[in-house]
Amino acid sequence: MKYLILMAFLAVRLSAPKQVPVFTEFQPFQQAHLENLHPDTTYIYNFWATWCRPCIAELPYFEKFNEKHKDEPYKMVLVSLDFEDKVETAVKPFMERKNIKSDVVVLADGKASEWIDKIDSSWSGAIPATLVAKGDRRLFFEKSYETYDALTSDLLKIDKNE
């Protein structure tokens, strides 16, 4: 029976087109993604947008990391800050074109001055930016990555005492 459920789950996962949840308000995003985190899982949130060139340039590194660590307790979420009216016209076509495998959500709450600090108080609001969370630990990087190694080095810091 367990096996059957697993099979059904896999079948759905493989066949269903990728869903893109859209959060027009911050609070539901916070509830769904930043609260009640599994203590042993490393969560990686990359804040990006289809119009942001340095963001687009570094996405392949995030995708590669996600692919390499897919059997480990990592959870990658690409948080698009595209405007709500661009979800169908820009975000989804982009994901299809680039064959994005990581989970994508759109955070389209325009009242950013009220939620930026809730992501990280050091964030100026510029993108790209990346939040890494594990247990009670948080690391925040307001920068863009030029290489896969540079990204990996930062992401893995969450498991080190630095």
């Binding site: 947008a49 119009w51 340095p54 405007f83 325009g110 009242k111 609001g125």
Partner: protein, 197 residues
Amino acid sequence: MNKLLIGLVAVITLAAWTTKTQGYKVGDKVDSFSLKGVDNKMHAMEDYADAKGYIIIFTCNHCPYSVAYEDRIIALNNKYAPLNYPVIAINPNDPDLYPSDNFKNMKIRAKEKGFTFPYLMDEGQHVYPKFGATKTPHVFLLDANKVVQYIGAIDNSTDASGVTKKYLENAVDALRNGKKPNPNYTKAIGCSIKTKK
């Protein structure tokens, strides 16, 4: 002894803090700058003899967040320039990295939108790092003495119809009434300013 120790710790903490954060803070006096505008003329704060303050906005062509605020920036200048708080817009981006932000395209955009304020190119990217601007749009409100009184966002909503707090207007109005802006620091999402390596 205790007092000395506390004092020492405070000095060290302050030193660490100032080296970590870059650019002007509220209360800092801004250095003069002279930059070329889309009218091909050089512009400086000193051009405004009667200025009671300056609304410096780092913005650009390519960034959707900047574009979303264009009409509001025009409205701000139309409202506050006659009250001697002119808008001065500066494009901080390297045009080699974003061709849509080059001088020619700045001229085209300024004409299309009918910018009523100077739109300046931060040639060589020397000015924006002094301000500590990290993104577009990013606002710095200065008083008559060129001292920073407010840093941050224009208002609290990217979508103009959703605005419920006009941070920048409230800050200018506070200065006009001889008061300190509150809040004097806000945040917004923006496009990171790109510099050549």
